[in-house]
């Protein structure tokens, strides 16, 4: 699982029926600096990605998302998802060693 800032939302007209009732969020994954409290803008280096969300996260939230085969495990039928929002983060305590 990785952490990321929600920076937007993707809306769909036609979609796989398995996606009904959920939304897709545009997420900028955290680099080390964001863990240490760097602001959301300018965006962290690295490309943003779209994640499936049924928890109700919105722009500005920090989310923990799963990638790869495990992203499609929560679905009842085989579903084409490769990033899944598993948690909306309330608080983050990050304290790397100083040396």
């Amino acid at each position: 699982m990785r952490l990321g800032h929600v920076i937007g939302r993707v809306t769909l007209s036609k979609q796989d029926p398995a996606f009904r009732g959920a939304r897709f969020l545009l997420v900028q994954p955290f680099a080390s600096a964001q863990f240490a409290g760097a602001p959301m803008t300018p965006l962290a280096p690295g490309s943003s990605l779209v994640i499936y969300d049924n928890l109700g996260a919105g722009a500005g939230h920090i989310v923990g998302f799963t990638e790869g085969a495990e992203a499609s495990v929560p679905f009842d039928q085989p579903t084409p998802v490769d990033a899944y929002n598993a948690a909306i983060i309330d608080e983050l305590f990050y304290n790397p060693p100083s040396r």
């Binding site: 952490l3 863990f35 983060i89 305590f93």
Partner: protein, 91 residues
Amino acid sequence: MILARVDGVIVSTVCHPSMTGCRTIICQPVDESGRAEGAPVLALDPLSAGQHQRVLISTDGSAPRAYVRDPKSPLRNMILAIVDEPEKETA
């Protein structure tokens, strides 16, 4: 499986039901000499690893699915072991 250092902890109220009650920590992957490699990741921590301890993480989903007893859990990373002292071969 990857070697990592415990660098923090997260708190989440709204999360997948399988994560409820499970400690989730921030782990910094490290190389054999302890240097950070890449961005930190989240991992389930059933062993209650301490701050800055070195741990072994499984990146396969089957371990956390068995631990939380939910075959539909999206979790992927889980602490399998706490490292005493990594042995290194000297040239």
